[in-house]
């Protein structure tokens, strides 16, 4: 099977005088989960709408398997908008069937699929309820079902975890990882960095209309690894300040995060120095979290401009 590929080339979007996307480019392959991250107002939703052909880019192009996006039928795409978009007075199952048929499913098939997904997300008892009688999280689940009901090749989810409880977050992650196995393209945006970290292979961080970070999650992590360690002890570790070559990054009661400057001290030297002076409870190499990287980069870039 050939892998699908979605390319965004030099896309620019203006809203009147306001440039929301500036020459944005990225590429997502089938089987990949792509995380579109960025602070509020960065242009994530706008980018996703352009991929969904709801908005047109002013410059640049969006290609799916080499074909321009606006020439491709929308049934290959599934979309979860960031705000709920449901008919408040409609009945759940009926509305899902309607959305399914809009993507060329037969009514029968749409019904079967809808019930299957509702069962999976624990919603099957609500099939004959009106939407406005559902809680916010339940509505979010229905909205999700509407997005992947027709089994699209490209799934675009704008903040899919918003409003979901931890159990449903896991159920959603399960469904998404199944998608991934089928070699489909998954693009999500989220403000929950832990979720992005768990889910995404590829991250694109945008701020103020521009990409400030783009790459595989593993590579990004390697790149931002800072030789940092954390130590936790049962007694005071204030003496660490006196050791040469140690930069304390963060300090709490009897625990601290620090980096070593390579020239002066190695990790084995460090252990020699503290031997006998500390009742160690925990010692680990600190991996940079996406959370930290996000904050650091966004703050740096905002400060620059």
């Amino acid at each position: 099977m050939e892998t699908n590929i979605l390319e965004v080339n030099q896309v620019t979007k203006w809203f009147f005088e306001n440039q929301v996307i500036n020459k944005l480019s990225f590429k997502v392959k089938g089987g990949e989960t792509f995380g579109l991250l960025g602070p509020n107002g960065a242009g994530k939703t706008t980018m996703m709408r352009m991929i969904m052909n709801i908005l047109q880019p002013d410059e640049g192009e969006i290609l799916y398997n080499g074909i321009a996006r606006n020439k491709i039928k929308s049934l290959h795409f599934g979309y979860l908008p960031e705000e709920r978009g449901l008919y408040p007075r409609a009945y759940v199952l009926e509305m899902l069937i309607y959305f399914g048929t809009l993507n060329n499913l037969s009514r029968r098939k749409a019904e079967v699929e809808a019930i299957r997904y509702m069962d999976r997300l624990g919603m099957v008892d609500f099939s004959d309820t009106r939407i406005n009688a559902l809680s916010k999280g339940m509505q979010q689940k229905i909205q999700l079902i509407a997005a992947f009901l027709h089994n699209p090749d490209v799934l675009i989810l704008d903040e899919p975890f918003a409003g979901l409880d931890p159990i449903n977050q896991i159920a959603l992650r399960d469904i998404l990882s199944e998608y991934k196995k089928e070699n489909k393209i998954l693009i999500i945006s989220t403000h929950q960095m832990e979720q992005a970290e768990k889910l995404c292979d590829h991250i694109c961080l945008i701020n103020q209309a521009k990409v400030i970070l783009d790459g595989k999650l593993s590579q990004i992590k390697k790149k931002y690894r800072e030789n940092a360690y954390s130590i936790e002890a049962d007694n005071s570790i204030a003496f660490l300040h006196d050791i040469k070559g140690i930069n304390i990054v963060e300090e709490n009661n009897n625990s601290c995060k620090f980096t070593l400057s390579h020239d002066n001290i190695s990790i084995s030297k460090f252990f020699e120095q503290i031997k006998g002076r500390v009742k160690m409870r925990k010692f680990e190499i600190v991996e940079p979290s996406l959370h930290d990287i996000f904050i650091k980069l966004v703050q740096e870039q905002t400060a620059k401009s």
Partner: protein, 500 residues
């Protein structure tokens, strides 16, 4: 393309099942018709509770009371055939001042009579004296009788003047006393009304009508008509005309009204002719604004609850717009067809006298459908545009209200249309697309000559306007639906039309 039908189906079904559609289809037209026709029924079938007493104060010697009673009996009777009106001569015999004065008057009359007879006696005597030349002392007798006659005549003239003066005073007193009496009878509601006839009413035609509500046109019209006949009859009799001839001359007339149509003449009935087209306009308005209103609220709703974003990700804006127009337009057609069916049922069960209503034809039904469809498309595409650019429901509803007012405005001119459906003013107004459907639906049944030319012209004008508006609507709809929060400026609107 298939998505258009899917969207249409969804819009149709979700509205068709709604309570508001049921209401607009069955309850509103019923209510409207009831409100429109109820006053007619109340007016026509006012229950005639009992015989009405009409007082008469007659200052003439015409015996008008009896005449009036006879004529009223001839025309107006209650369901049980008893007379509807009873004439009561207002009597003042109980009034003391009047009877005192009447006594004096009678004395004067008696005196007048005696002087008259004395005068005549002298006159007769003198004739005898003239004839009989053998009377002794004739010269002297003649002279002295002449003097006697002279004196008596003077006295006679004086008495005459006095009696006349007294008669006037007596009449005036009679009149006042009678009026007082009648007023008290009116107040106690013994009398329904009373009439005052002056001495010379047959000559000068002056009468008075007293009632608690002289605005009751039905009553006054009846009395006027009958009095008119009576007085004319009296005037003619005074000119010595045979009674038999008179009856023939004064035979009442009945006017039946007919209207000329291309296919022949038809009997004319105000209520059918006027209220029929009015109900027609109302139904057309209902149909256009029920489905047009749904179109409007559907756009507004999807915009505010963001369903539009989901829809736009599955279908393009042209499909969404097309689907909505198709589905809700079809809904409107269904509504109209339901009304047609109901009309047919009412005709079949003889509740609507179809043979009397010339405008209940298949052709006119077709025109109704055409003007509904065009009106719906016209207002619908305006609604789509407004719905998609309005930042909030409140603003949008105000514009909606305004458009409704514009569309129903022709009803205010219905009386003008009624008197001349093809006047220049009405023709010109019906070329304005906002007003076309309402005006044409009134004009087609009311016009005596076919207005095919105007039908073609208005249809063409409407179609051109619809194409223009849909073109604009399509462009704006796409961009505007995703906008939120603020009302776009005109320059922004123009910009949107360029970019999309």
């Amino acid at each position: 393309m298939r998505n258009i039908f899917r969207i249409a189906r969804w819009e149709f079904i979700s509205r068709f099942r709604s309570r508001s559609f049921l209401f607009n289809t069955f309850v509103s037209p019923l209510l409207f018709t009831a409100v429109l026709t109820l006053p007619i029924f109340i007016f026509q079938y006012q229950p005639e509770v009992s015989t009405k007493l009409v007082g008469v104060i007659d200052l003439s010697d015409e015996n008008i009371g009896q005449n009036l009673q006879d004529e009223l009996n001839r025309y107006y009777r209650l369901k049980n055939r008893s007379p509807e009106y009873m004439i009561l001569k207002v009597s003042v015999s109980n009034s003391k001042p009047y009877s005192r004065m009447l006594k004096e008057y009678r004395e004067i009359i008696a005196r007048k009579d005696s002087i008259n007879s004395l005068y005549n006696q002298i006159k007769d005597q003198r004739t005898e004296y003239y004839k009989n030349t053998k009377i002794p002392n004739r010269e002297y007798v003649l002279r002295s009788s002449y003097e006697k006659l002279q004196i008596t005549r003077e006295e006679k003239e004086l008495v005459q003047i006095e009696s006349n003066r007294f008669k006037t005073a007596l009449d005036s007193l009679y009149r006042n006393e009678a009026k007082n009496m009648a007023d008290s009878l009116l107040i106690t509601e013994v009398l329904n009304s009373y009439l005052v006839f002056t001495r010379d009413f047959t000559k000068n035609g002056n009468m008075e009508y007293h009632s608690k509500n002289p605005g009751d046109f039905r009553e006054t019209e009846r009395l006027e008509k009958i009095l008119h006949t009576i007085i004319i009859k009296k005037r003619i009799i005074n000119d010595n005309v045979e009674r038999a001839k008179l009856r023939k001359w004064l035979n009442p007339i009945h006017i039946k009204k007919y209207q000329l149509f291309a296919e022949g003449q038809k009997e004319w009935n105000f209520y059918l002719q006027f209220y029929g087209p009015l109900i027609g306009v109302f139904l057309l308005f209902m149909a256009i604004f029920t489905s047009g209103g749904y179109l409007f609220s559907s756009v507004l709703l999807e915009k505010s609850n963001r369903v539009i974003e989901v829809l736009l990700s599955y279908a393009n804006s042209r499909q969404i717009m097309g689907g909505k127009i198709l589905g809700l337009g079809f809904l409107g057609l269904v509504q109209v067809l339901i009304w047609f069916t109901l009309t047919l049922i009412l005709i079949a069960s003889d509740i609507i006298p179809a043979q009397k209503i010339n405008y209940l034809t298949l052709t006119n039904a077709l025109y109704f459908l055409i003007y509904f469809s065009l009106g719906f498309l016209f207002y619908g595409s305006i609604f789509i545009t407004i719905g998609s650019i309005s930042p909030n429901e409140y603003d949008a509803q105000q514009i909606n209200q305004f458009l409704r007012t514009v569309a129903i405005f022709p009803v205010l001119l219905s009386l003008i249309v009624f008197t001349d459906p093809n006047s220049t003013l009405i023709r010109t107004l019906s070329y304005i697309p906002f007003l076309t459907p309402s005006f044409m639906i009134m004009r087609i049944p009311l016009s005596a000559v076919p207005i095919t030319m105007d039908i073609y012209i208005t249809i063409i004008i409407l179609i051109i306007s619809i194409i223009g508006i849909i073109f604009v609507a399509g462009k704006i709809f796409r961009v505007a639906t995703l906008m939120q929060g603020k009302r776009p400026t005109l320059t922004e609107l123009i910009q949107w039309m360029k970019i999309s």
